[in-house]
Symmetry: C2
Subunit: 191 residues, 2 copies
């Protein structure tokens, strides 16, 4: 049985271009794109993490528009995607919530284009998920990536996505889509 | 030798939710996300196709800001990505331009979440590109997907991206990233 995947998109603590820890602003395209990718690849829940109450309220309003409001009536597939989105104030809050829901503790997986000393490749993580059958939380950072403390406290550090060369500056929306496809995409006969 | 990949993002002729042929509006997030994915996966050029002169001018202004203006100085990796973006009025114009540049005619590949009777899987296309060594143009639609005439005139119809179930409503930004990763991503030992 495939492990159960959860996603967290962190707006704090993340880095800015100089490596300082900041709180980033929530982006509308992140909510929609990642919700649609999450739904496509069978993710259990997509958590948007921000400690700023006004930003959390804004996200709840957007989700409400598409799940209970006019948007959902117009676009049922968008409603379906946004139904799995949830707002949280901190990463710890999410981990506790998943732990309560699942039989065992969730395994956290830090991601990032600049992660050094990664502990697991996409292929290896996919195998682990198959074997383990438990819950895995993939943690994605906004801004210039996850703060060191998040990476250090994660159970696994996922290998950065490699394209065809040394350039890897995917948007977080694209990185989530590619990561989910590598972990949970239906494999064709020939890859 | 790997075939050379070009990308076209069409804003005409594409479908609306009712299946009528329309011209869609250019989206800022499409330009940036797809340019970054294209650069990451070694795409030769990313063409944005719109027949509307005002929209084409807007895209040129955005590209200029990031390649020659203040944006590029602030963010060199964004500049590098946007340097490969080009605006065109029609798909035919692009095909002729690539044909002139390449030794042989470019092979066109229609993509779409609802493509029926696909002629090639991602794995198969990847093999074809390796063997052929020529130029391939991946055509992506905005709105509700490519109009029938584009699909019919394409050399190949790429199999839709399958997630883990029947839902597949990825954003075009995510679909481009996943498609490029499947075709040109550096393969790990275990997938």
């Amino acid at each position: 049985m495939m492990g159960r995947i959860y996603i967290a998109l962190l707006h704090y603590p993340v880095l800015d271009r100089n490596g300082s820890v900041i709180t980033s602003a929530v982006t509308n395209a992140d909510i929609h794109d990642i919700a649609r990718s999450a739904r496509t690849y069978g993710v259990r829940r997509f958590f948007i993490v921000t400690p700023i109450a006004e930003q959390a309220d804004l996200v709840r309003k957007i989700i409400g528009h598409w799940t209970r409001g006019a948007g959902g009536a117009l676009n049922p597939s968008r409603r379906e995607a946004l139904e799995a989105v949830q707002v949280a104030g901190t990463l710890d809050e999410i981990i506790q919530s998943i732990d309560r829901e699942e039989s065992g503790p969730v395994k956290t997986v830090a991601t990032g284009a600049r992660l050094k000393d990664s502990s697991v490749s996409h292929g290896h993580l996919s195998q682990l998920m198959d074997k383990d059958g438990g819950a895995f939380l993939l943690i994605f950072g906004t801004g210039w990536g996850l703060a060191g403390e998040v990476v250090e406290h994660s159970r696994y550090r996922l290998e950065p996505i490699h394209g065809s060369g040394s350039y890897n500056h995917l948007s977080v929306r694209s990185a989530v889509a590619v990561t989910l496809d590598r972990l949970a995409g239906r494999k064709e006969g020939v890859r």
